[in-house]
Amino acid sequence: MNDMSFKTVFTPPEPLAIKSHPHKIVAKNVDVYYGEKHAIHNLSITIPDKAVSALIGPSGCGKSTFLRSINRMNDTIPSCRITGTITFDGQSIYDKAVDVVDLRARIGMVFQKPNPFPKSIFENVAYGPRIHGLAKDKTDLERIVTESLKRASLWEEVKDRLSHPGTGLSGGQQQRLCIARAIAVDPEVILMDEPCSALDPIATARIEELIHDIKEKYCIVIVTHSMQQAARVSDLTAFFHLGILVEVGDTDVLFTNPQDKRTQDYITGRFG
């Protein structure tokens, strides 16, 4: 490979999804290292608000790393080091003045494996609002829990058993519970790290439907291995390869008319 491979390639013209939406998260010249390992090379991307952005690419390409950099989950890994800037509503999230706890309250996260707390369904959703003091009293808390479960389209299935353990639900229900838990703290951004990889196709379809329903309220960033999923749910798609952001484009454009050879090879299934 040559110099080309270390350069982020932005494809002109600017994607419509970025142009037509407010810019929620802007990353500029971001490099991420795990100890000696250089996980992300000089990444620059703009993520639009009220839209779904999908990060695709083969395993180990840095898409999850980038996702975890957005809400600073990488802080928990001692060897991780980040340079460059990531701004959230114009404010640098790695600024000394930014409190990581407040940041994570505004940038929620849903993980690959459903990870409800080993507590009741109600407690799972109520935990976030409780620690952030979002509810004025008990009825207010109940309202938040109900609304969050409704928005995560789980309410009908669990309304009679809110005191049952969250871990007793099926995998798909658990994942929707995790989405409800993320929604409950009223975030602006929801990061999803392969939220459907542990689910069956029917549960996956429900989650995708849910993403579609809530996207006009949130800025959603989803990491996925499934190109079909990216094509189905996202407005903007970013293709990562070996720690490099290869191509960003409107989803329909990127999948039908990729500019880069690597993108083309990947989406046509020639490597990955």
């Binding site: 407040d102 309250a105 849903v110 409800p116 707390f117 080993p118 935990y127 976030g128």
Partner: protein, 415 residues
């Protein structure tokens, strides 16, 4: 179908499996035999000590020999002698009556004095007393001692008298409550386990109160907050080494530090608890770290993901999930401390202490040390009391382990 018939290889495989299974059964069997032998041996030896031969005596509190104004000066042994001679009207010789009175435990006279002091109106009345016999008389009647005199002196007179009393049905053998209600004593029939039990209880409480918070905090720090560097590696290696240090070393440390430098009271449960807390601290830290590590990281990530601080994630989610493991490790560590005697010897808890400790700075001993003390005494009665003490210790350990299992079940959560 010949293809499915057992080939020689398959047959060999099945044979190996059978042999292995039988070896395992043998291992279990041998262990069980040892355990049964130990318990049966202890129980058989302990049975004689569980009952105490007593004789019902009518004791007249003679107003001529005791003054209500000065009860302490009263001649209480004389009351006992009088009532004994009433039992044996044909015996008139003073020395023989004295011999007979010596068959009755001295606790009778002490009790009598205490009773009359508390209630002077008893003077002049006749009270019926269930008087325990001395351990020698008791052992003779139970057949574990051939003669009443332990030294083999001539004691035919006493033996004949005891046999007469037994034939007359005047001797009962109720349960020896003194084992549970008395402190230690030189006289076996008066010796009980309460002092050692209370000593052990105080020690364990102090150990638990000190070692649990310290151990869990240390484990939390090492597991969740400490940076991984040379220093924490060193700490970790040292903790693992400390867990293997012989317990007597901790006793010497306690002697040098707590007694000689800080001047804490010798033989006190306070110092015992401090020393044993040091002893179990590494065990608790190791168990707690293992328990903390076994909590899936996804739970902590979930908490961090909704904006919990590191500390909230740990205290709301990780620690509660690790609690069963921590408690199990702690209780097993404390149970080990409960059975330790060597470090307690070093800090003077091996002394003969007759009083039941009432506070943590009183001189006291502990159950395992009591076992050690009694086992070195020559009397046959102490031999069986040693077995009782061992059984008491085992029962206490069993209770602790049962508690550990109950707590684990109680706190256990699945995810």
């Amino acid at each position: 179908m010949p293809e499915l018939a057992r080939s020689p290889r398959t047959i060999r495989r099945y044979r190996n499996e059978t042999i292995f299974r039988w070896l395992c059964v043998c291992a279990i069997g041998i262990t069980a035999i040892f355990l049964v032998f130990l318990l049966a041996n202890l129980t058989i030896k302990a049975i004689p000590a569980l009952t105490q031969k007593t004789i019902t005596l009518a004791i007249k509190i003679d107003p001529e020999k005791v003054d209500a104004a000065n009860v302490a000066a009263g001649d209480f042994p004389a009351f006992l002698k009088d009532s004994i001679s009433a039992e044996f009207p044909e015996t008139t010789d003073k020395s023989e009556i004295k011999k007979l009175a010596k068959l009755i435990s001295s606790s009778v006279v002490e009790d009598l004095q205490r009773k009359v002091t508390a209630q002077p109106s008893l003077i002049g009345q006749t009270i019926s007393v269930n008087a325990p016999l001395t351990a020698d008389a008791d052992s003779f009647l139970k057949g574990i001692q051939a003669t009443v005199s332990p030294t083999g002196d001539n004691s035919e007179f006493e033996e004949a008298a005891l046999q007469t009393l037994q034939k007359q049905g005047k001797i009962q053998s109720p349960f020896a409550w003194s084992l549970l209600t008395n402190g230690d004593s030189r006289a076996p029939e008066k010796a009980g386990l309460l002092g050692a039990f209370m000593g052990s209880l105080y020690i364990i409480l102090i150990t638990l109160v000190l070692a649990l918070p310290l151990g869990v905090s240390a484990a939390l720090y090492l597991e969740e907050f400490a940076r991984k560097n040379r220093f924490t590696d060193l700490v970790e290696v040292n903790i693992n080494n400390l867990a293997a240090v012989p317990s007597i070393i901790f006793g010497l440390l306690g002697l040098a530090v707590f007694l000689n430098i800080f001047g804490l009271p010798r033989s006190s449960p306070l110092v015992g608890g401090l020393v044993l807390a040091l002893l179990v601290l590494p065990t608790i830290i190791i168990a707690s770290r293992a328990a903390l590590r076994s909590v899936p990281p996804s739970i902590k990530e979930a908490a961090l993901g909704v904006g919990a601080s590191h500390q909230q994630a740990i205290f709301h989610h990780v620690l509660p999930l690790a609690m069963p493991g921590i408690l199990t490790g702690t209780i097993l560590g404390v149970a080990r401390a409960l059975g330790e005697s060597a470090p307690l010897l070093m800090i003077g808890m091996v002394a003969f202490i007759a009083d039941v400790p009432t506070k943590i700075t009183d001189a006291a001993t502990a159950l395992p040390v009591q076992v050690y003390l009694w086992s070195s005494l020559p009397e046959a009665a102490f031999r069986s009391r040693t077995s009782v003490a061992i059984l008491a210790l085992l029962i206490m350990l069993l209770c602790f382990n049962a508690l550990a299992i109950w707590l684990r079940k109680r706190f256990e959560r699945r995810w």
